[in-house]
Amino acid sequence: MTRFLRLVGRDLRLALRQGSDASIAVMFFVLCVVLFPFGVGPEPNILARIAAGVIWVAALLASLLSLERLFQTDYEDGSLELLALSPVPLEAVVLAKTLAHWLVTGLPLIVAAPILAVLLNMDTAGFGTLVLTLAIGTPLLSLIGGIGAALTLGARRGGVLLSLLILPLYIPVLIFGAGAIDASLHGLTPRPHLLLLAGLLAAALPLAPWAGAAALRQAVE
């Protein structure tokens, strides 16, 4: 357990000293959402209608943006080999790195989301659900994306390839996430959506690190 925390701590320290990844992801998220009024027009009703979907799609893209580098630098400088050879199981390494990635890129999205919801004129009834879905959904995005990041290590055009592989797998998260907000906006209970999201998270927590570790083992072979 202390080793696991050591891994998380190292990744957090690396991210904080490099400093760019976290801020770029959240800036991208904000810009992406801000573009929509220019595309569909400033009509408040239309914006309020699409707010939940827009914020969720932007969150997907923002999380993808930083995923490419999840294992990339460790792979290039040889750290990944050493991590694979350390006494810590590789599954735990994947989980630790994913957790660090989420803390650095996922949490800021959750904080920024309500501000964007205000900009898009979303009804306040949906704010709580928005934050809640992102809190359950963004770790899920990091977990699923981590598999893709591990699979595309060493590939040509890894970043583009990563989006091609991962975006279809993100669809259920998007459906339940945006669906929950829509439900609260229409005065319905978002509970079933949230439970399904939580179920997906519960399934992904053990499975995604396992698949990611399998992919990493091939990458360092």
Partner: protein
């Protein structure tokens, strides 16, 4: 302390058969020197010993207990130093080293990191971020890992690259000490690293004569000629 052995090892890289039928044995206090031209599989053998590369055929064992039965135990017994130095540019040398020491199970990672840097003759780089280190200093930092956390078997792939004469002498002393304490080493090298009494393994002895590949019958070891072909 147990004996590390490999028997009937076959290494396949892509479709190329690198070596086949290779046996080795390292007992406590012993050193194995891997020799051979480029492409003869020195690095591959070390990666195989480390467990990064699965042997296509053959087995690795500690005192006869196969490595795949206890991969966690195996990883706890080895240190691997490869071509890449695994130095993070934004962390200081001491932070870099302390992380690996902690992961390897050192009780006080920071103290053992500083001691290891001292032993490799570079105590002054402890507070220097990785991006300002020279190639030789990064190499020493990487080698310091094997001292920062204890493990009986050291696998060193071309450790003398980028090192000056003084550093190589230091390394020789460190290896001798490790062996005297019952440790084992396997080293691949082109340059001379003095290791008295080291067993030499010439990898070109195990290079297959013909360019065999996975898509020939014999690579599956069961012969392939059936009645219809013979007829």
């Amino acid at each position: 302390m147990p004996v590390f052995t490999g028997s009937e090892l076959t290494c396949l890289r892509g479709d190329r058969l690198v070596f086949t039928g290779l046996d080795f044995r390292v007992a406590p206090g012993e050193a194995l020197l891997l020799l051979g031209p480029n492409g003869s599989g020195k690095s591959s053998l070390l990666r195989m010993m480390a467990g990064l590369l699965k042997p296509f055929r053959g087995r690795l064992a500690w005192d006869g207990a196969p490595v795949p039965d206890d991969p966690d135990g195996h990883r706890a017994k080895i240190h691997y130093v490869g071509h890449l130095d695994a130095v993070k540019p934004v962390l200081t040398a001491a932070e870099n080293l302390a992380f690996w020491a902690g992961l390897g199970g050192a009780a006080d990672p920071r103290a053992s990191a500083l001691a290891a840097l001292d032993r490799l003759g570079v105590p002054q780089i402890a507070g220097v971020p990785g991006r300002y280190l020279s190639a030789g200093q990064k190499r020493r930092l990487n080698l310091a890992r094997v001292l920062a956390a204890p493990a009986p078997l050291w696998l060193l792939d071309e450790p003398s690259v980028a090192l000056d004469r003084a550093a190589v002498a230091l390394l020789e002393g460190i290896i001798a000490e490790h062996r005297a304490a019952g440790g084992m080493v396997a080293v691949s090298t082109h340059a001379d690293i003095a290791m008295p009494g080291a067993r030499e393994l010439h990898l070109d002895d195990f290079t297959p004569v013909t360019g065999g590949n996975a898509f020939d019958d014999d690579a599956f070891g069961d012969g392939g000629i059936e009645g219809e072909d013979a007829a």
